[in-house]
């Protein structure tokens, strides 16, 4: 039986072999990602629920475990309402434009030394490019909706992204100065040698800037001005319903997971074990670290009030960017004098 399958496979032309092999790999990454996104939404409701003295969804399935599927089916069967006088093509394109880059960014994500879909040398740059593309979807959605609330949300998002892209980019410059590579796998490997070799120690200010701008990039509380529930109702996606809304939602959560995983890769040694003499490197470490940062996103949301739009800008331009610049200079000296266990 296996022979037949193998022979059948080998008899296919190279092009088809390559394409189907690649597609298979894409599915192996994306299907678990969707499942994680689905259960991340449930986890959010449960975790925030317990933080707020309530129990969250517990009706659908055992302990509410099928809730994400119920939500999914509900959204799939809802009508997609296209507002009158909206630009209907842009209106449909916008969610796709947000969704596609947030998925594409996962292509270069290394899970272990060898488990990586596209091991390209400019991995970090690629991810930066992809995550900043997503905001166009938000802006276009706000514009195409023909709604003042949506337009305000889009405007806020556009202004915010400019400030926070720079801060985030600068903090990543620090990482690549330390690692000497843009390849995510190499960045992790250069932190090898236990918890003291992780970049979090020399790059702590940059890590804070990265984390804050990561939360801001994904439009999560306390930086959710583009959505601004109590101010501009739902901001840029106020007019979206059904699957178009779900696609925005998927993109947001996929981005949160992406930011969380990047934080653990770049500052916390990814799949590397904190104490290599006791425990080996394992993909489980990566998931644990990522899970922690994912929890942080929820924790922030349950704790903080929302910033005002101009306060976000002030924080971005006047605090985060100067901090990164100063620390880049400091790091330059650290690297030059080969300080530490990190730069020698």
């Amino acid at each position: 039986m296996t022979d037949i399958v193998t022979n059948l496979w080998l008899s296919l032309p190279d092009g088809i072999q390559f394409t189907s092999y690649t597609l298979l790999k894409v599915f192996i990454i994306l299907v678990p990602l969707f499942i994680v996104v689905a259960y991340y939404t449930l986890a959010e409701r449960k975790v925030i629920g317990y933080m707020q003295n309530r129990i969250g969804p517990n009706r659908v399935g055992p302990k509410g475990l099928f809730q994400p599927f119920a939500d999914m089916f509900k959204l799939m069967f809802k009508e997609i309402i296209i507002p009158t006088k909206s630009n209907r093509y842009l209106f449909i394109v916008a969610p796709i434009l947000t969704f596609a880059p947030s998925m594409a960014a996962w292509a270069v994500m290394p899970f272990t030394d060898t488990l990586v879909f596209a091991d390209i040398n400019a991995g970090l740059l690629y991810i930066l490019a992809m995550t900043s593309l997503g905001v166009y979807g938000v802006i276009i959605a706000g514009w195409a909706s023909n709604s003042k609330y949506a337009l305000l949300g889009a405007m806020r998002s556009a202004a915010q992204i400019v400030a926070y892209e720079i801060a985030m980019g600068f903090s990543l410059v620090g990482v690549l100065m330390a690692a000497g590579s843009l390849n995510l796998g190499d960045i992790v490997n250069s932190q090898a040698g236990g918890i003291y070799h992780w970049f979090i120690l020399p790059l702590f200010p940059l890590f804070m800037v990265y984390l804050i701008s990561g939360v801001a990039e994904t439009n999560r509380a306390p930086f959710d001005v583009a959505e601004g529930e109590s101010e501009i109702v739902a901001g840029f996606h106020v007019e979206y319903s059904g699957m178009t809304f779900a696609v925005f939602f998927l993109a947001e959560y996929a981005n949160m997971i992406l930011i969380a995983m990047l934080a653990s890769l770049m500052f916390f040694g990814g799949w590397l074990s904190p104490l290599p003499s006791l425990m080996g490197d394992n993909i489980v470490w990566l998931f644990l670290k990522t899970g922690f940062f994912m929890l942080l996103f929820l924790w922030f949301r349950a704790t903080f009030p929302r910033y005002r739009y101009d306060q976000i800008m002030r924080l971005g331009w006047k605090v985060l960017i100067p901090v990164t610049i100063v620390w880049l200079v400091v790091e330059g000296f650290l690297v030059y004098f080969k300080v530490g266990p990190w730069f020698n």
Binding site: I48, M51, Q52, N53, R54, K148, Y149, L152, M155, R156, A221, P222, D224, V225, G228, E229, S230, E231, I232, V233, R301, A302, T303, F304, P305, R306, Y307, R308, Y309, D310, Q311
Partner: protein
Amino acid sequence: MPEIKNYTLNFGPQHPAAHGVLRLVLEMDGEVIERADPHIGLLHRGTEKLAETKPFNQNIGYMDRLDYVSMMCNEHGYVLAIEKLLELEIPERAKYIRVMFDEITRILNHLMWIGTHALDVGAMTMFLYAFREREDLMDLYEAVSGTRMHATYYRPGGVARDLPDAMPQYQESRWRSKKEAARLNENRQGSLLDFTEDFTNRFPGYIDEYETLLTDNRIWKQRTVGIGVVTQERAFQLGFTGPMLRGSGVEWDLRKKQPYEVYDRMDFDIPVGTNGDCYDRYLVRIEEMRQSNRIVKQCISWLKDNPGIVLSENHKVAAPRREMAKADMEGLIHHFKLFTEGYTVPEGEVYTAIEHPKGEFGVFLISDGANKPYRLKVRAPGFAHLSSMNEMATGHMLSDVVAIIGTQDIVFGEIDR
């Protein structure tokens, strides 16, 4: 180059921060508010007109529905007006019960305010914390009156009935295990006063929790300090009362300045702000909750020591007890008269005001000697506060409008009446 124009944004009535049915027409220059025009009337139910067609006692229930987050205080203003016209003396114990429930109501109202204000500013956890405590207070309402909100508990001549000796208990059910029910019933074993006392002991700790979340929170301060500043002078001119006035630094509280019931025997302080911004008003209200808690404690200790009647013995106005109505001819006649045509109030007009959680709640009552009011005018504090929306919001940003709505503590039941 196209001409740049301001645009108008319709904020509400279907809006998460509209606090019911507020409709604001905002003229905006980008995110900055040029003019804020509140539109009212979407919750108008004609309470004042309805009151002219009903015997005095039947209007008490309408008062609950004015400001539907501080129910008993509204009733209080109304029954005080009737009592003043009738020159009716009420039993001492009823006065203490009224003061206690006024302060419980103040806590209820301020909990609702802090929950929604924080939710509007984005701190959604506060909302659920506040509702956890509101639940206990609602249980007190339910224990004395049978309903969680619209109590109709105060009556001309006192209160409807004495405080119960037992609290209602949670039952085991499909959703609530025996252990869970026992845990919930733990502090409900004694009388209502015991349960209230237990609450007053727990409550300062809860306020500390709220303050940990908000008071020194940088984001909270950034969102409230310097927002919606009202000077002392302007606060007088705009007709502010209550925490809005005290936030601007005026030490004015009817409970101290024109004491009614037994407030002159209570030991409490009036917090005042200095800058008149949203943050000061926040601090004032937080401190008011602590002070209310103090007053409730004092009432509990008095009420525990002094049993007695809670409704006037003048049965021309106050209903006789059930046994009297069944056994005694005179009682039966009083009962019949009261529940058919009610009682008449001497001709005249009267204005009474109480320190409502939101400000001065005034009732202007004209009687022509009939069994129902000739005219009833309610002075709702929220109306004056909402009128200042334009002044408070102009020059601020859209997000601040939401904070200002929160700080004004608007409820449309009383504004639209």
